[in-house]
């Protein structure tokens, strides 16, 4: 922080943390008062553009390095606006700036200002600079999340918890403080950093809540290393009991529903469903699989390669063609991102279509879901909470018959790409939910705590 302030002083007149509109650069010949409103606005837009350019030019971890780096890089790109202003502003008001910046990430002044109707979904954004001391493991994780290198509710939760184990081990209780009280405040900025990379999944939320409970319940008298080891052990147990072992129980229970000669339809790629199918095949059951996939994520391809490599007979098609094969299917298996207390399933976008289609044709729909994915909230539709897929090259999967530059959709002023990642399947389309406590109808989520012997999920 201090470095960037010195840099500012060296280059330009000191720039206080003023509201953006009033910031005066060191160099425009007119002072703010003399500029007309239009000119002021123009300057504001230019500053915003320069900030956007600077930000995309140099994402990095430490504010100091960023200040130095972006100073160099943005100087040539931002002609009139003092580049020194931007790092100071960025590090001063990181939270508000990135919040305001995000919707305007991909636009330039004068063009469309991002999605208007679904702007509350939050566009995917590269993780901003880390404020405060974020542990390198968390920074790495944030980058992996934002680039979708780690995707899927289970994978994200396990990765998060593993990273937290490292953080906890490296943590040192400051003097005059106790681990059980201070560790939580230490973890909060780490969690915020992860959330800024990609909105938190329900699984991560439940796991973190459990972790907080464990931390606050840890014994004050324990020596620090013992307390940290105990917490890491609890994390390991959580992963083992509620994810790994739960998956094994689900494999067994769902496997019982698979009979020889079945045609199983599945959508996109669920880690649990993949394990169920592999295990049933290993047990010698004869069945074939229809993998339904959808663009732009095309996650089903990975599932297809895994299943065919063990010798399961598969058919692959895209979602719009599902009407042609639904009559062939005898059972539908899907995974879930989360399960809500009104019985609705929040899962990869397209799952709702598959479930409703199956219901229409009297094909049973089975959702495989561990209990730690349950959320006590009620969700009624897909709009209230969702996430957008990263804006990527939409045509990468097509055979290239025209030059790529003609295929890109970005940069057109009247066109915005909307790619929600999730959708909500109503409980009426679901036949059964397989969890580690057994097969339950979707309306009975609320009786799960009783089954697990607890008072809450």
């Amino acid at each position: 922080m201090t470095e960037s302030v010195t840099t500012i002083k060296a280059i330009a007149s000191p720039l206080p943390s003023q509201p953006q509109g009033e910031a005066s650069g060191s160099q425009p010949p007119k002072s703010q008062k003399n500029m007309t409103k239009a000119e002021r606005r123009e300057q504001q837009e230019k500053q915003r553009a320069a900030k956007a350019a600077a930000k995309s030019a140099g994402p990095s971890a430490k504010p100091a390095a960023a200040a130095g780096g972006s100073n160099v890089k943005s100087a040539p790109s931002a002609a009139t606006v003092p580049a020194a202003g931007t790092p100071a502003k960025r590090s001063d008001r990181r939270g508000t700036v990135s919040g305001r910046e995000a919707p305007n990430m991909f636009d330039e002044p004068g063009k469309a200002r991002g999605l208007r109707i679904f702007s509350h979904f939050g566009l995917p954004k590269p993780p901003g600079q880390a404020k405060g001391d974020i542990h390198p493991a968390i920074i790495r994780l944030g980058l992996q999340f934002s680039e979708f290198k780690i995707a899927g509710a289970n994978a994200r939760c396990i990765a998060t918890l593993t990273a937290f184990k490292t953080v906890i081990q490296d943590y040192v209780t400051p003097p005059n403080n106790t681990l059980s009280r201070h560790l939580m405040t230490h973890l909060s900025p780490q969690i915020t950093h992860l959330v800024s990379a990609r909105p938190m999944s329900v699984t991560m939320g439940n796991a973190i809540r459990q972790l907080k409970l464990e931390i606050s319940g840890s014994d004050i008298d324990l020596p620090e290393q013992d307390a940290k080891d105990a917490l890491c052990l609890k994390i390991d147990n959580y992963i083992r009991d509620r994810i790994i072992i739960a998956d094994q129980v689900i494999q067994e229970i769902a496997g019982n529903k698979i009979k020889d000669g079945d045609v199983i339809l599945t959508y996109a790629r669920s880690s649990v469903v993949e394990k169920v199918l592999l295990r049933a095949h290993a047990e010698g059951k004869q069945f074939s699989v229809i993998v339904v996939d959808s663009r732009p994520m095309l996650e089903g391809k990975k599932l297809l390669s895994v299943l065919t490599s063990v010798g399961i007979q598969c058919t692959y098609l895209l979602l719009p063609a599902i009407g042609a094969v639904i009559t062939e299917a005898s059972i539908v298996f899907v995974g879930a991102h989360s399960l809500h207390s009104n019985g609705a399933v929040f899962s990869r976008a397209g799952t709702a279509l598959v479930a409703m289609m199956a219901k229409q044709h009297s094909v049973p729909v089975v959702v495989c879901c561990e209990t730690y994915k349950f959320s006590e909230t009620v969700q009624l539709d897909s709009f209230i909470k969702n996430e957008l897929a990263p804006a990527g090259d939409l045509f990468s999967s097509f055979p290239i018959t025209r030059p790529k530059s003609t295929l890109t959709l970005s940069g057109q002023s009247n066109l915005e790409i909307l790619n929600p990642l999730y959708d909500l399947t109503p409980p009426s389309s679901i036949t059964a939910v397989v969890t580690e406590v057994g097969v339950i109808p979707p309306s009975s989520i609320s009786s799960i705590p009783l089954a697990l012997g607890r008072s809450t999920l």
Partner: protein, 343 residues
């Protein structure tokens, strides 16, 4: 071999013919299959010389297996067995006196069975509130709990009953006989005439073999059809079930039932089989070609064997399930089951 005989086994432990015990218990008309299973298992505990809980549960499971194998329709039997085994497993005990625990289990089992005999009465009283004076009721096949409810209702209100024939076993005729003997106006309706009669009916009342985890119903074949027709005609469909018939099964479809096997609804393998169906089991003059001169024709045994005994009714078709634990919606059944079998 007389029922309940203890035969000395090779290793000196006394063997106990559970199936014979079960059958002798079933001779009592009042006792239904799950209760008989529970009583048979109670006797098994009594005669068993298991030393630890593990051995005991294993012995119980083996006994339940024997019963299941030898019964053609084991669904309600399963319900009773699982309930009792779960109860035995979860029964709080201190580790010192195992024989004391066994005695306690036996006592509890017998006490439960005695109390369970009052369940039908409880259900009848509960359902009474839903039967208005002058009701026209449709029921299916023969069910002891429905019979009790109808007789109870007849004591204070005027009811009239349609009962389906329930082929191929024709148990609806037994219902007809008993109701008419009690003075209740009753008419037997063809299975295929249910939709014809549905608009005249106020509500449908059926018994059950088992009520499953999804909240659905397993009952004599034909119940699903009646439920679908009742739904289409907007008539309530009530199921009566004692709580020991609640089962943790979750059928995803008709063909996911444990009673379903490949021979049901299978097509005959050769055309020779079709010639058999014209055999002289038909009453009319043999060789007569004109339809008018032939009398009613009946299915052969082989043809009947291709048909199921029970079917599964989905929970969205059922209005309420009346049970000794109260009147439950189908969702409530699942919550009760999860709570009951919670570990």
């Amino acid at each position: 071999m007389p029922p309940g005989t203890i035969v000395a086994g090779k290793d000196g432990s006394s063997q106990f013919d559970i199936f014979a015990t079960y059958q002798s218990i079933l001779k009592n008309e009042e006792i239904s299959t799950p209760l008989a299973a529970i009583l048979a298992l109670t006797e098994l505990i009594e005669k068993s010389n298991a030393g630890t809980m593990f051995e005991l549960v294993k012995a119980l499971n083996d006994g339940a297996e024997v019963l299941k194998e030898r019964t053609p329709n084991p669904i309600s039997l399963n319900a009773g067995c699982e309930l009792f085994i779960a109860f035995a497993y979860l029964f709080p005990h201190d580790s010192d006196s195992f024989s004391g625990l066994k005695t306690e289990l036996v006592k509890q089992g017998q006490r439960y069975a005695a109390e369970a005999l009052t369940y039908r009465e409880k259900i009848a009283k509960l359902a009474l509130g839903f039967i208005k004076d002058g009701s026209v009721i449709l029921t299916h096949s023969y069910s002891r709990v429905v019979m009790k409810t109808l007789l109870r209702a007849h004591e204070r209100k005027r009811i009239s009953v349609y009962v389906t024939e329930a082929r191929p076993r024709g148990l609806g005729l037994r219902t007809y006989d008993e109701l008419t003997a009690a003075g209740i106006p009753c008419t037997v309706v063809l299975d295929s005439a249910v939709s014809y009669v549905m608009d005249q009916v106020d509500f449908v009342l059926v018994g059950s073999e088992a009520v499953v985890e999804s909240g659905g119903l397993i009952n004599a074949v034909g119940s699903n059809q009646i439920a679908i027709i009742a739904k289409a005609a907007n008539k309530p469909f009530y199921a009566l079930a004692e709580s020991y018939k609640f089962h943790r099964l979750f059928p995803l479809s008709q063909y996911d039932l444990p009673t379903h096997n490949p021979s049901i609804l299978s097509f005959p393998l050769s055309s020779a089989a079709t010639a058999v169906s014209h055999s002289p089991s038909s009453i009319g003059p043999s060789g007569g070609k004109t339809l008018t001169s032939e009398g009613p024709r009946f299915m052969t045994q082989e043809q009947v064997a291709c048909n199921p005994d029970v079917d599964y009714t989905r929970p969205d078709l059922i209005s309420l399930v009346f049970s000794d634990v109260g009147s439950l919606t189908p969702e409530g059944v699942s919550q009760y089951l999860v709570g009951m079998f919670a570990g």
